[in-house]
């Protein structure tokens, strides 16, 4: 079979276009596709709608703000409630230069899952009675109010795993899975960065978490020691 392996992140993302919607896996320091994001910074792609759990100080995603590549973020964690240092994203958000759609984390994950799973929409109790519900369709099911939520998809997903094979099968280390697993199912083109790239057949079938058919391209990145910024 034709290998899905690319030799560099630059080549793997060469067709990402201005105005694209891109999902970015990762949760703070775990499972972040650092090299793919860096390639995107270098590529100068503009007008991006990003979908990610978080964008904050120290996140590779925040580097996209340096050259103002982001038009909008859909995220669950972006602006700190506490008054600590501001990320570049936060600065641009406060200056009205970038848009933010804040979504409860579980709703974000479930909307992405629905996008990948062919679910047309779903009802969740999360967000009822809050600003999230403003102007939104609700429905009482089994005596409890629920919000209607639509699926979320993207043109591209940039994800990170620990090991992968040339067919795109992926294995994650510890808490690396987070949004990577679901995002792999919900984008037209899925690009995976792995620390170790092996031949098909080398991964234990029972250990594979992301089946290869979800992944279009795979590229070996470096391990970046990331730190936590309290």
């Amino acid at each position: 079979m034709t290998s899905k392996a690319f030799l560099s992140c630059n080549e793997a993302i060469a067709d990402v276009f201005d105005g694209a919607t891109i999902m970015f896996g990762g949760f703070i320091t775990a499972g972040t596709p650092t090299d793919l994001v860096q390639a995107l910074v270098e590529r100068d792609t503009s007008n991006i709608t990003g979908i990610a759990n978080n964008i904050g100080i120290g996140d590779p995603l925040d580097n996209l703000c340096e050259k103002r590549q982001l038009r909008k973020m859909i995220a669950s964690f972006a602006i700190r409630a506490s008054g600590a240092r501001q990320s570049r994203f936060e600065e641009q958000y406060r200056a009205g230069e970038v848009e933010l759609e804040l979504v409860p984390q579980g709703t974000l994950a479930e909307r992405i899952r629905a996008g990948g799973a062919g679910i047309g929409g779903f009802y969740t109790p999360t967000g009822v009675g809050t600003v999230v519900a403003e102007g939104r369709e609700t429905r009482i099911i089994d005596g409890r109010e629920h919000l209607f939520e639509l699926p979320l998809r993207a043109d591209f997903a940039f994800i990170k795993a620990h090991r992968g094979d040339t067919s795109g099968n992926l294995v994650y280390r510890r808490a690396e899975r987070n949004f990577n697993v679901t995002m792999a199912t919900a984008a037209d083109i899925v690009i995976a960065e792995v620390e170790e790239l092996v031949e098909t057949g080398e991964l234990e079938p029972e250990a594979i978490v992301t089946p290869g058919i979800y992944v279009d391209r795979i590229v070996k990145g470096e391990r970046h020691e990331a730190r936590w910024y309290p």
């Binding site: 775990a30 700190r80 804040l102 979504v103 479930e110 999360t126 009675g129 987070n178």
Partner: protein
């Protein structure tokens, strides 16, 4: 004058007494995180981090930092025997589906009906919802751990929250540096107060009126 309260670490210790053997517990960012370091001897508690861990232990020492082993606040954690990993969709299926016995969240404001506001300070704007709304809706029991008053001394336990809500009517118990207060269908019930703090002292920094429980007693740890 505001009564003197207990230090934050003692709040965490008091909350830790709510833990029971075998419980699945999610700890919010900030003060609640410290609860993991005060699990009573002999209990096994399954701490869930919404980024995809069940069974983490305390906060890891700084030199043992593993970027792939963090809690939902980004802090490095350790693993207990029997721990496992999963993705975010599965994690919130666990939370929303009622499989978390207890969530311990930080709070900015709590109303007398148990409405919680903990994700945004309107004066500051922006805000971050994170997993709080899902936890507030999904956990079987919700304890808020917070300072009893804001920095300017104003009450955080209010008749109505003025900050944007995390979820309405979701809080079961409030543990602060001054008191343990239950949200009941009949209103707020003062169950415990810190040593040297009277029911009147707690009431003086609490907006809605508190009923004092029949078995009201001093907080112990």
């Amino acid at each position: 004058m505001r009564p003197a309260g207990i230090p934050r670490d003692l709040i965490a210790m008091r909350v830790a007494r709510e833990l029971e053997d075998g419980m699945a517990v999610n700890l919010g960012i900030g003060l609640p995180t410290q609860v993991a370091n005060h699990v009573p001897e002999g209990l096994t508690v399954w701490f869930q981090a919404e980024n995809g861990i069940l069974g983490y232990g305390g906060i890891a020492p700084d030199d043992a930092f593993d970027q792939d082993l963090i809690n939902a606040g980004g802090q490095p954690v350790t693993l207990q025997p029997g721990a496992c990993f999963f993705d975010s969709a599965e994690s919130f299926a666990m939370i929303r589906g009622g499989h978390i016995d207890l969530a311990i969240l930080g709070g900015l404001q709590v109303s007398e009906r148990g409405d919680l506001a903990n994700w945004m300070v309107p004066e500051r704007g922006g805000g971050s919802i994170g997993g709080a709304m899902d936890l507030a809706e999904g956990a079987r029991r919700l304890i808020v751990a917070m300072e009893h008053t804001a920095r300017d001394g104003s009450p955080r336990i209010l008749r109505e929250c003025t900050y944007p809500l995390t979820a309405p009517a979701c809080v079961d118990r409030i543990v602060t540096d001054l008191a343990v207060i239950d949200v009941t269908p009949e209103g707020l019930v003062l169950r415990e107060a810190a040593a040297g703090v009277s029911p009147g002292g707690v009431q003086s920094v609490t907006e809605p009126s508190l009923q004092t429980a029949d078995d009201f007693r001093e907080m112990t740890f």
